[in-house]
Structures are given as structure tokens and as C-alpha cells.
């Protein structure tokens, strides 16, 4: 009601009004205008946009940055309008604004993530108290459907790229096949075990600070091992799946997120392994003899140059693996989120973490 009165008597929004006839369906107007990712969106009325803006203390005319591919300045108001489209609640705005800031850091290479022929898009991983405050899911089906914050935050970021930046499939977005995760892939980390170092802390933020980490990747590849019972055995087992990213004979080009489920995590915890030890052990377990990986080996054309036949070749760069805890309590399954195969120059392409501020 307050927003209704505000809209009627004060207005104050700067974005263009798009008028429609009394017999038009506003949902269809949004489709016709090309504002959607293919699913219906919430029509951005003045009331909804004003309500969304109440979720942040930042001014509506503040410019967050330039959105690729068209490098158009994006204001907080445009973020709010797209948040309405995506179905966000106002209290998600601080996370969305932090995610957008992360996406616009040059090392995230948002233009490249959009334009690539590969499957990737931004994946959002939320840490800290904000996750609980806005009701995010890190438990059962954390990577799946059904939670409004998870579903709409990832979607809103992709809609900003589409609508403000002009990044559309078949235009600047050249994905050969794409992936369902290009609609949305956003989840929170399970921080219920005080013995576990959250991703945000591993990436340099104090415990208790809310952050969002953006990763260039797609989801989800299943990992199943119901029989390994030691950290060493489980590590070797996970490594067998990790080396398949992209192609078993492609190396040092992709990062990866391992989403470790509670039952797999319990094996590491009981063995006294922490995040650093798990990530290091996985890096080492994915080093293989070059002769198995050279182009032509096993009759497969793909592979590394013949000159590397006598090397021991790592699958990943040594900073390329991020372990995140999530998932329901039952199931000896974990998930791999493969990264963009563009890491030949790894210093130019990295995940980015930003603090979530009110």
C-alpha cells in the first residue's frame, strides 16, 4: 500500500515507462519486449520496483558499473527492475548488488563468459549470515529447484546481462549448446559445522561476514561413491571424476567446484582432513602420466602435445579447485560444477568474492 501511494504521488523512478493497453496482458508484454529468459517474469510495476529499492540503502541513481557486451551503465534502479522481473524479494538486493559487482571485476571476464561457445555462466555461492536471513537453501536439493532466493538471485544476475548489457543467445551469447544453469545456479554453503572453514574464509574474509562468490561454470555433474570409507580412497575416487571435466585428456584449462555432501564430508572430517588438505590431495590425485594424455593415445585425437609424453601432467592449476559443502544428510553423492575451459592464462580469469553490504 505504501508503495502504491508513493508511486501515485511521488513517483521518482527514472526508467522509461512502457505503456500498454487495458486489454493487454502485462506478462505477455514482457515476453513481447524480449525481457525474459524464456520463462515468465513478474511485470515491473512502479509499486514493485519501489518496494524492491527498499531492500538496499543505495541510491537508485548510483551506477554499479558497465554491463557487457554493450558496456551500458547500470544503476541500482535497473538492478531493482530486473530483480522484480526475476521474482526476487527486496531483502535479496544486497546479495544481488554484491554479485553484480563481483561479475564486473575484470578478472571475472563477464563478457567472455557470456560470449563463449562453452556452457558456462555465473554461478553464485553465498556465505555468511545473509544466507540464513533471506532463507537460502544449502540442504536437500540445494542445487535444484524450489527455493525462491536460490532460484531468483541467479536468474536476476543473468537478466541484468540480458536486458541492460544486451547479451542475448544467438547474438553476443554464442553458446553451442548452453546449459540449464544459464537460467540460474545459486546456492549457499552449509556452515553448520564450526570445524569447517567456509569458502568465504578460505578466500580471505572474516568468519561471520556475508559474501557472494562468483564462479564461471555450469552444473551439475554427478559423483557417486558409496563404498570408499577413508579420505585417501574417497580422494582417489573423486579424482577419477574430476579428470573427466571437458575431456579426460584436456588439462590445465578449467577450474572446478566440488560440492561435498554431508555423508562424503563426514569421511574427511572423521579422518581429520580440512579444506586445504582435501583441495591439495585432489590436485595431487589428478596428476597423470603424459603418455596417457597425448593426442592420439587410445586412438583419440584430443589430447596434450606429444612433447609432454614423459611429464607427469596435472589436470588442474594448483589453485583451481574450490570445495563447498552443501546437500541433504542422506546420500553418498557429491556434485562437480565444471568451470569454463578458458584458463590457459589463469591470472586473467578467476572467481571473485565480494562482501554483501546492506
Amino acid at each position: 500500500m505504501a508503495e502504491k501511494l508513493e508511486a501515485r504521488y511521488r513517483g521518482g523512478l527514472a526508467s522509461r515507462k512502457v505503456e500498454y493497453g487495458e486489454h493487454d496482458d502485462p506478462m505477455e508484454v514482457c515476453f513481447d519486449r524480449g525481457w525474459t529468459d524464456g520463462l515468465p517474469v513478474t511485470p515491473p510495476t512502479d509499486e514493485r520496483v519501489l518496494r524492491m529499492l527498499k531492500g538496499t540503502s543505495r541510491r537508485p541513481d548510483e551506477v554499479i558499473g558497465r554491463i557487457p557486451p554493450n558496456l551500458i551503465e547500470c544503476t541500482v534502479e535497473k538492478v531493482a527492475i530486473n530483480a522484480v522481473l526475476a521474482g526476487c524479494r527486496p531483502e535479496y538486493m544486497p546479495v544481488l548488488l554484491a554479485a553484480l559487482e563481483a561479475a564486473l571485476e575484470p578478472v571475472f571476464t563477464l563478457h567472455g563468459v557470456l560470449a563463449t561457445t562453452y556452457f558456462s555462466s555465473p554461478i553464485l555461492i553465498v556465505n555468511g549470515p545473509i544466507a540464513k536471513k533471506i532463507g537460502m537453501n544449502w540442504g536437500l536439493n540445494a542445487l535444484g529447484q524450489g527455493n525462491r532466493a536460490n532460484a531468483t538471485l541467479g536468474r536476476a544476475l543473468n537478466l541484468i546481462v540480458r536486458n541492460v548489457g544486451g547479451g542475448r543467445p544467438g547474438e553476443a551469447d554464442r553458446a553451442t549448446l548452453g546449459a540449464p544453469s544459464k537460467f540460474t545456479l545459486c546456492f549457499a554453503e552449509d556452515e553448520s559445522d564450526p570445524g569447517w572453514e567456509p569458502l568465504s574464509v578460505a578466500r580471505g574474509f572474516p568468519r561471520g561476514v556475508s559474501t557472494v562468490t562468483l564462479f564461471q561454470g555450469h552444473g551439475v555433474e554427478a559423483f557417486v561413491d558409496q563404498k570408499s570409507r577413508t579420505p585417501e580412497a574417497l580422494t582417489r575416487s573423486i579424482a577419477m571424476s574430476l579428470v573427466k571435466i571437458g575431456h579426460p585428456k584436456l588439462v590445465q584449462s578449467a577450474r572446478a567446484v566440488l560440492v561435498l555432501s554431508p555423508e562424503h564430508y563426514a569421511i574427511y572430517r572423521e579422518g581429520g582432513w580440512d579444506r586445504k588438505r582435501i583441495e591439495r590431495a585432489l590436485y595431487e590425485a589428478t596428476i597423470r602420466p603424459g603418455k596417457e594424455l597425448v593426442a592420439g593415445a587410445d586412438g583419440v585425437g584430443e589430447g596434450v602435445p606429444a612433447s609432454r609424453a614423459d611429464e607427469m601432467v596435472p589436470k588442474f592449476h594448483d589453485d583451481a579447485l574450490m570445495v563447498v559443502r552443501a546437500g541433504g544428510s542422506a546420500g553418498l553423492f557429491s556434485a562437480i560444477l565444471p568451470g569454463w575451459l578458458a584458463g590457459r592464462k589463469r591470472e586473467e580469469l578467476q572467481p571473485v568474492t565480494k562482501e554483501v553490504r546492506a
Partner: protein, 94 residues
């Protein structure tokens, strides 16, 4: 009764500008041809071959590169190409 209803535009509110395309030259004689390496794997090998073919025809070639295919070219590189080359060969990538 007619009521005016509206939504707020989520886009950049820009309008595409139509511009006349520059006409391709009738001949490459006397022009500087820019070969732009976009940083994809082995694109340098491909451009080496193109350069050799153009050199056989005694044409003037200049080479340019952006650091990585994962990002747009730095403005300084684009300016240099615009200043020095009459025509440019570039591939589409990321």
C-alpha cells in the same frame, strides 16, 4: 474508461544506430592489411600462413593481437589498428 498502465523498462533504453557499412576496397594494392590475433589457441599459426600468402602478393601487412580471447581488446590496441590499417582480418571469438 481508459486507464494508462505502464511497466518500467528493464533495458538500457538504447536505440540501435543504423550506419552505412564501409564499402570493401576494389583492390588491396597499396593498402595496409591488419591481421588481428584474437588469442585463440593456434590463431597465430593460422595468421602466419595468411601473412605468408599476402607477402607472396607483395602486400603490406601489420600484425596485431589482444592478450586473451576471454576479454575484449584493450582500447589502445583498437586505436592502433584504426590508425594504421586500412583493412583488418579478424575472427569472431569470445
Amino acid at each position: 474508461m481508459t486507464t494508462t498502465q505502464w511497466l518500467r523498462d528493464p533495458t538500457a533504453e538504447t536505440t540501435a544506430l543504423r550506419r552505412e557499412r564501409t564499402r570493401p576496397p576494389q583492390s588491396l594494392e597499396g593498402l595496409t592489411i591488419g591481421l588481428f590475433d584474437i588469442g585463440k589457441t593456434r590463431s597465430d599459426e593460422f595468421l602466419d600462413r595468411v601473412e605468408a600468402r599476402l607477402a607472396e602478393r607483395k602486400l603490406t601487412v601489420k600484425r596485431y593481437a589482444k592478450p586473451t580471447n576471454a576479454k575484449v581488446a584493450p582500447a589502445a590496441v583498437i586505436d592502433k589498428v584504426a590508425d594504421e590499417a586500412d583493412v583488418v582480418l579478424i575472427a569472431l571469438s569470445d
